[in-house]
């Protein structure tokens, strides 16, 4: 039953990775921008919640009422001032500009808060460690379960937004063909700014759960970015539900890796990520080659 327990812990961990990755996936799907400041932005949101909790005793879930809109506003401004201009300069420029932004954010946090590690766990009572024990010594942590539920709800919400609302249709139109979207009256620039704001709202929520489940410091962002990036690539870049699958695959790999060897947690995750990436490249190449040979016919 140890393996079953590890499997379930992996699925729950995958929920956190999916939550962390959905904003990254959303931005890539809509704007084809890989936001290298994604992890650092989640840490910024975590510090915002930490300040509210420490200074004014605001519960982190209540603090999200202020931090989520603040991050949305930050996202809008970020797009207008940085991403929009960089995207016009070429596909690689947003990668460089968000990389630069991550450095600025990390070091600004270091200047403001020092190198001490923090956590929101002390501010959520016993939720940080409460759990249910199922038959066979399978442990279901309440916070990991809540994280998975929030990830599913958030992805479902984004899915509904894209599928059922006028804003969602405009976002999809601008994602598929920005020039034609403009021809039918869609202001692609505004749509992209709104998409960045939405992505930052998900980042704020991810930052909250990151800070509740573990400790964080000003340089936690890049590590979180790697996990989010791996989840997005495993699940298929730009696919929302694929992000959930990618997160779970990564979480399960890490959890089972940790069971095999104490050092196996990170290694197993990276190995699975690379294996899936390579398999995709080769399978995709193989299928294209096969179709081409069918078209050519027998020699």
């Amino acid at each position: 039953m140890i393996w079953a327990n590890q499997l379930i812990q992996g699925v729950l961990l995958g929920g956190y990775y999916a939550l962390l990755a959905c904003g990254l996936s959303f931005m890539f799907g809509v704007m084809r921008i890989i936001n290298l400041a994604h992890g650092s932005l989640a840490v910024v949101a975590a510090y915002g919640l930490f300040v509210l909790a420490q200074r004014w005793d605001v519960h982190p879930f209540v603090g999200l009422v202020a931090v989520v809109p603040a991050m949305a506003l930050f996202g809008w401004i970020l797009h207008r001032l940085v991403l929009d201009r960089s995207a016009r300069a070429g596909e690689l420029v947003p990668i460089l500009s968000t990389f630069g932004l991550a450095i600025v954010l990390d070091n600004s946090l270091f200047e403001g808060f020092g190198a001490n590690t923090r956590s929101l766990a002390p501010y959520i009572d016993t939720l940080a460690y409460d759990s249910w024990t199922l038959p066979g010594d399978i442990i279901l942590g309440q916070l990991p379960l809540l994280t998975l539920a929030v990830a599913v709800a958030l992805l479902a919400g984004l899915h509904l937004l894209l599928a059922r609302t006028a804003l969602g249709r405009r976002i999809r139109a601008a994602a598929q063909d920005p020039e034609t979207a403009q021809l039918v009256g869609v202001n692609a620039r505004t749509v992209y700014a709104a998409s960045t704001a939405i992505a930052m709202m998900t980042v704020a929520i991810a930052g909250a759960f990151m800070a509740m489940r573990a400790t964080f410091d000003p340089y936690t962002g890049p590590q979180q970015l790697i996990f989010a990036f791996e989840a997005v690539v495993i699940g298929g870049a730009g696919s929302l539900w694929g992000t959930l699958v990618g997160g779970i695959v990564l979480g399960v790999a890490q959890s089972l890796g940790a069971q095999i060897h104490p050092q196996g947690f990170l290694i197993a995750g990276h190995v699975v990520f690379l294996a899936i990436l390579l398999a995709r490249l080769y399978v995709s190449y193989g299928i294209r080659h096969f179709i081409r040979s069918l078209r050519r016919g027998p020699a």
Binding site: A166, Q176, Q182, V184, G185, N187
Partner: protein
């Protein structure tokens, strides 16, 4: 008074001047056809009017307002819609979603989902099909219907018959008949000269980015237009005016 005025318009592709010093006045309700060989600047002119190709020089005035600096979505809101060459549908959206995007972003008016489905009944049957799964004719009908959903005052049609079978072309033009009977102003680029002459009130011939002739469609023959099409800069008849 003209609804759309183009004054000394120039547009470039890099160093190449694709539209050169074009002056044009289009009256409300007029059906104007632009003809010319490949590379004459027809598509670039339409794209410049729609706002997705930059103006290098000159100005565009729409309903008395200078729209030269306006972006494409602002021009759409003002009442200019382009059906682009190659249809350019949103492939991973259904027919209805393609139409609804235009409704939510464009102007309000008579063209709604119901009226568009009346004009293009084949689209109602395919409303839940992905745009990429449609035949060429159905895709073209969707592209025209999508432009109509913005309730344009000027509709720019670029090569609506390109790449379609003769039956599909006939179907598209049958659907267009309702539109042609309305007061919507149309600027048409079409390779099929006979259809152009049947549909248009006025013909403008472009050669190497310049207007070389224009005249009433009823007074121009297919042969005269063909002459300009293949580079004849001299007026073939007294009715056709050398630009």
């Amino acid at each position: 008074m003209s609804l759309l005025q183009v004054q000394g318009l120039e547009a470039r592709h890099g160093l190449l001047s694709a539209v050169r010093g074009v002056d044009l006045e289009i009256a409300e309700g007029e059906k104007l056809a632009l003809v010319g060989a490949n590379g004459a600047g027809k598509t670039t002119l339409l794209r410049t009017l729609a706002g997705i190709h930059p103006v290098a020089a000159g100005r565009i005035v729409f309903d008395g307002v200078d729209i030269t600096e306006m972006s494409a979505h602002q021009r759409c809101a003002a009442g200019i819609a382009l059906v682009p060459e190659g249809r350019r549908l949103f492939p991973v959206m259904t027919v209805e979603e393609n139409l609804l995007v235009a409704r939510s972003a464009g102007r309000g008016g008579a063209w709604q989902l119901e009226t568009v489905y009346e004009a293009f009944p084949q689209l109602k049957e395919k409303s839940n099909a992905l745009a990429s799964h449609l035949s060429g004719g159905q895709q073209q009908a969707t592209a025209i219907a999508r432009a109509l959903m913005t309730n344009p005052r000027v509709l720019l049609l670029d090569e609506v018959s390109l790449g379609l079978s003769p039956i599909a072309v006939q179907g598209v033009y049958d659907s267009l008949r309702t539109l042609l009977e309305t007061h919507t102003t149309i600027v048409l680029v079409e390779q099929d000269l006979q259809r152009t002459l049947d549909v248009a009130d006025r013909i403008v011939c472009l050669l190497e980015g310049e207007i070389v002739a224009e005249g009433a469609a009823a007074e121009m023959t297919r042969e005269q237009v063909m002459g300009y099409y293949f580079g004849n800069r001299q007026p073939a008849t007294p009715q056709a005016t050398l630009a």
